[in-house]
Symmetry: C2
Subunit: 534 residues, 2 copies
C-alpha cells in the first residue's frame, strides 16, 4: 500500500512510463519498423477520470479493510488485455468496483464475504489484476461489487526442503515468492509473462502457463494442495504427492477462476535452483519442417525446459531473427546433472529436419538469439502500452491442438485472422505497412503444440475495442471450429465465454453450475466468469 | 461370451485353477515357507451356490442385451479384494445383480439406463470386475440393480500415429488394447497388476496406477479426452494436448467411479514400443537409507520408468531377495535414445546412500532379481486364490505421503497393523510362523512415495472377512491420522468410504454431491460409491 504505485491503466509502475520525448522517439521507431502507427497520444490522467460513485459504504468498524479511494477502484476496474489497456488509456472505467478490500488473513476474507452477502454485493477475487480475459472486470449491471485484493497475503509460510514443497499465500507475486524461496536455495520456476505482477492464487485460479515448455507446463502440475475460503466453509486438500481417491479436489479448484472460493494459499512443488543449463537457437527455413522437429522432440521423452518455436515473422518482430527463418529456442536445465547430452540428442533431431543450430551456450546466458527473445518476452507487456499510445493494435490469442490437425488448423486460423484484419484495418495486405500475424509455440506436448498468435496492425483510433473484438471473434471461431481450445493458459474469464460454452461438455457445465450453486448459493463469487450469474 | 470362462469367485479363468494335487503341494510349500496356513479347502462350486432370485425381469424385446443367468450374476456380485475372494470361495453372494447387461454400443448403454430408471433399478458399471474396494458390489438393500458389463465395447477405434494417441472403447482389457496397438508398433504401457482383466474404462473411472514409477504414474496422465454417457446426455471433451479452459472436465470424470456417467471410450496417449531398456536391482542393508536414495532419485529429474523399492521382507516373500537386504528395482526405457547414462546417474545416487547395484541388464530381460520380482507381481493375484484355499490371510493396502513425514508415517502404519494382527491372529509375533507385514514403493514423486503394504497372516477360517476388516480399519486409521491418502491407486469404492469421507475437503464433497444430483437425478449410477445414495 506504500511506495511505488502501479499505473492505473497499463503495465507496471507509474514511474516506468516513458517520458513524452521517449514516446515520440518510440513512435518514429515503430513507424519505421512496422510501417504503421501514429503520433503518440497521452493517457487520460487519473484526476480527469470520472467514475460512478461507490454504491457501497464500507462499515466504519472494519477499519482499513476496505477502501473507496478513486485510485484503488480505478486500478482494479479492468484487466490487462489490449481492450482493457485501451479503455484505461482513454479513461473509460465504466464498471469500477464499489470498494476494494484488503484482507490480512483468512478471517478477514470471511468477513468480506459475509458483509458482501449481507449487502447483496458480489465479490471479485483480485491477485495481480493481469487477466487478459475480463476475469477481474465486473459486468454486473446494477449489482454493486467489491474487488477482493489478496496482496497482503504474500508470504511463504513454510518450506519443506525434504519434500521440495512450500506453503505460499495466494497474494504473493512471482518476485515476492521467488525472493523468499531463494533464501533456501529453492525456486518454483513458474514464469508466466505476467510474472512480475501476477500472484500464486491467480495462477492457480486460472491454470497459468509457466516457464517449462514440457512436462510442468501449467501451475496445475506444481500444485500439491490448495486451501480456499468458500461461502460454505474452508476447502483444504491434504498434502499428497499423488492420490487416487475420487476425482481430484485440487483439479476442481484449479481453473475455477474464483467462482467456487477464494484461494488463500497453496502447497506447491519447488525445486533446487538449476546448476546445469544449456540453450541453443536453431534456425529453420521452413516453419512446418521446424514444427515437425518440435513434434519429434516433444515425443522423444527428452523433456527440454524450453522448446519454443517462433515463426519467421515472430522472430523478426521480437528482434531475434532476420525474418527469413523460423527460430526454435531449445533449453535444458537441471539441478542434478549436466544437460549437454539431451541437448545434443535434441539438436540431432532438429538437424534431421533441416534445422541449423547456433552455438550451444551453458550457464544460463543463452545464445544471442535466445537472450534477445527472453528479454523481448518480458518486455512485451510494457511495450504494449506504448503501442496503444501510438495507435498500434497489438494483441495475442493462444490455443492448443493435436499434431494431426495442426497444419490445417494453423493455416485456417492465420488466414481467418488475416482476412478479418483486411476488413477492419486500413492497411496494405502485403509489404511495408502490412499488419503482422505471427505464431510461436509456447508449450509443446507429445500429442500437440500450444500455438500462440500475435497480431499487430494499425489501430482505428477511438474504435480499437470494436476493431479487436471483431478480429478476436474471427480467431475464436477458427479455433473452436478447428477443434482447438479457446485457451491454453490465458483462462476463460468473461471474454472467452461464448466459445468456452461451445467447447466444454454440456453435462460438465451442468455439474459445475450445480457445484457452484451449492457452494455459493448467493452467487457472491465472480459472477459471469465460466458460468452465467445465477 | 464364448470360449474360456472366468472363475465365478477368484482370479483368472476356470481352467487356471490348480488341481487338488497341486493345491495340496502348495499348502505344504506355504506352511514350510511361512510357518502358517492349513490344509486346502475347496471352493463352493457354482451349482451349489444359492442366490436370491432376480427381482427384475428383462424385457423380452431387448433380446440378448440382458442376462439373468446364475453364472453371469454370481461372477459380477463381488470384486477381487481378499474379502471378496473369501466370500466367493465360500459361496456367499448376498447381493448379486438382478440382471447383467451387455451393451454393444452407446445407444444400448442409454437403453439400459432408461430401462433401469423406469424400473427404479440402480446401475453398476462393470469393466473387469477387479475392484478391491467394493466398487462393483451392490449394497443396496431392497433396491434391485443391473450390472452393466462393457466387455463388448473392446475395440481400438482409431489411432492417430502422428499425435501418438488412440481412441479406445471402455471395455477393452489390457491385453486386448495392447494387441490392437501392437499392430501399429504402439503401446499404452499402462500395466496395473490387474492388467490381464481390467479395462480402460475401469482404469479411468478409478484412477488406476500403472507401469511407470515416475511421471506417468496414473492413467490420469495418459488421458487426452473422455466420452461418457450420463443420464443427462453425452459428456465428451475435446481432444486437447493441454488446456487452461476452466477446471478440467476430464479430471472430474477421472476417478468418478461410475457415479456421474458410464465411460464409453477415451482418447489416450500412446507411445512407440521402447527400444532401449536398462534395469538393475540395488541392494541396501538399511530400508531408510534406500528410501533416502529413492527420494534423491525422484528429485533428480532422471525419471526412471521403474523405481520400486521393496523392503527386506517383501523382497524375500516375492523370492527376489534373501530377507537381509532391501531391493531397489530401477529401470529406464526409451523408444528414442539409449538409457545407460541416466541409469548410471541413478546408480551413483544409490551408491552414495550405501546401495550395492547388481549387473545392469538391457534389452528388457532385466537382472535376475528384477525378473523374479516382475513375475511375482503378475502372479500375485492368482496365488491369492491358493492362499485363501489354504487358510492364509493375504491382502494389501496402499497410500502416498510426503517425504518429510514418511519415516514416522511408515513406522506408525506398520506398527498399527502389526499390533492389530497380534490381536486378531493366533500366531507368534516373531520368528517362524509370525505374520508378515512388508512394504514396497509402487510409485515415487519428487514430493513423496506411494508405499504399498502387504499383510500375510494365519486366517481365522470362516471369520476371514471380520478378521481382515479389523486389520484394515487399523491400517486406515493410521493412514488417515498420519496425513496420507486412503488410496493412491486402488480407488475408494464402498470399502474406503469412512476414511475417504474424512480425507476430502467438505466443500468439495458438497460440490460433488450437487454435481451428481444434477447429472443423475434418479440416483441411478453406482449408489454408495464416493458419496451416499440419495
Amino acid at each position: 500500500m506504500t511506495g511505488r504505485r502501479l499505473k492505473h491503466w497499463g503495465w507496471g509502475y507509474e514511474d516506468q512510463a516513458p517520458s513524452r520525448e521517449e514516446l515520440a522517439e518510440a513512435a518514429t521507431g515503430i513507424r519505421e519498423r512496422l510501417g504503421f502507427g501514429g503520433e503518440p497520444e497521452e493517457p487520460v490522467p487519473l484526476d480527469q477520470v470520472e467514475i460512478r460513485p461507490s454504491r457501497l459504504k464500507a462499515p466504519a468498524d472494519l477499519g482499513d479493510l476496505f477502501s473507496d479511494q478513486k485510485y484503488e477502484r480505478v486500478s482494479r476496474a479492468l484487466g490487462k488485455a489490449y481492450r482493457d489497456v485501451v479503455r484505461g488509456f482513454r479513461g473509460q472505467f465504466e464498471n469500477p468496483p464499489d470498494l476494494v478490500a484488503f484482507p490480512r488473513d483468512e478471517s478477514e476474507i470471511e468477513v468480506v464475504l459475509n458483509w458482501c452477502e449481507a449487502e447483496g454485493a458480489a465479490v471479485i477475487p483480485f491477485g495481480g489484476g493481469t487477466s487478459v480475459v475480463g476475469g477481474v472486470e465486473g459486468r454486473l449491471g446494477e449489482r454493486p461489487f467489491v474487488s477482493l485484493d489478496l496482496r497482503r497475503l504474500d508470504r511463504v509460510l513454510e518450506v519443506d526442503a525434504k519434500s521440495l514443497a512450500a506453503r505460499i499465500q495466494a497474494g504473493a507475486t512471482g518476485p515476492r515468492l521467488e525472493d523468499q524461496l531463494r533464501e533456501q536455495g529453492l525456486t518454483l520456476r513458474h514464469f508466466p509473462q505476467s510474472f512480475e505482477y501476477s500472484t500464486l492464487g491467480g495462477w492457480v485460479a486460472t491454470r497459468a502457463g509457466g516457464h517449462f515448455a514440457t512436462l510442468y507446463t501449467h501451475i496445475d502440475d506444481l500444485v500439491e494442495s490448495v486451501r480456499a475460503i468458500t461461502p460454505r466453509g474452508t476447502w483444504e486438500s491434504r498434502r499428497l504427492p499423488g492420490s487416487g481417491a475420487g476425482p481430484s479436489p485440487d483439479r476442481m479448484l484449479i481453473g475455477s477462476e474464483g467462482i467456487l472460493g477464494v484461494i488463500a494459499e497453496a502447497w506447491v512443488r519447488v525445486r533446487p535452483r538449476p546448476e546445469f543449463k544449456a540453450s541453443c537457437g536453431v534456425e529453420f527455413g521452413d516453419f512446418l519442417a521446424a514444427a515437425a522437429a518440435v513434434r519429434e522432440i516433444s515425443q522423444s521423452s527428452l523433456y527440454p525446459s524450453n522448446c519454443r518455436l517462433l515463426d519467421a515473422l515472430e522472430a523478426a518482430t521480437t528482434g531475434a531473427g532476420s525474418g527469413e527463418s523460423s527460430l526454435l529456442v531449445l533449453g535444458f536445465e537441471s539441478a542434478h546433472h549436466p544437460v549437454d547430452a539431451p541437448m545434443e540428442l535434441a539438436l540431432e533431431i532438429a538437424r534431421e529436419h533441416g534445422g541449423a543450430p547456433g552455438e550451444v551456450r551453458g550457464g544460463g546466458k543463452g545464445s544471442d538469439a535466445v537472450g534477445t527473445w527472453r528479454n523481448a518476452f518480458l518486455l512485451a507487456p510494457y511495450l504494449r502500452d506504448t503501442f496503444v499510445a501510438c495507435g498500434v493494435l497489438s494483441e495475442t490469442f493462444e490455443t492448443a491442438i493435436t499434431w494431426d490437425r495442426f497444419e490445417g488448423f494453423h493455416a485456417n486460423a492465420m488466414e481467418a485472422v488475416r482476412a478479418k484484419i483486411a476488413e477492419v484495418c486500413d492497411a496494405p495486405t502485403e509489404g511495408p505497412g502490412a499488419p503482422r500475424v505471427s505464431c510461436r509455440f509456447t508449450h509443446v506436448y507429445p500429442d500437440g503444440p500450444a500455438p500462440y498468435i500475435t497480431v499487430m496492425a494499425p489501430a482505428v483510433r477511438g474504435g480499437e475495442v470494436e476493431q479487436w473484438d471483431e478480429i478476436k471473434a474471427a480467431a475464436s471461431e477458427a479455433v473452436i471450429e478447428g477443434g482447438g481450445t479457446i485457451t491454453h493458459h490465458h483462462a476463460v474469464g468473461r471474454d472467452h465465454r461464448p466459445w468456452y460454452d461451445q467447447q466444454r461438455p454440456a453435462p460438465f457445465a451442468a455439474g459445475l453450475r450445480a457445484a457452484k450453486a451449492e457452494l455459493d448459493p448467493a452467487g457472491l463469487l465472480n459472477p459471469g466468469v465460466l458460468i452465467d450469474p445465477a
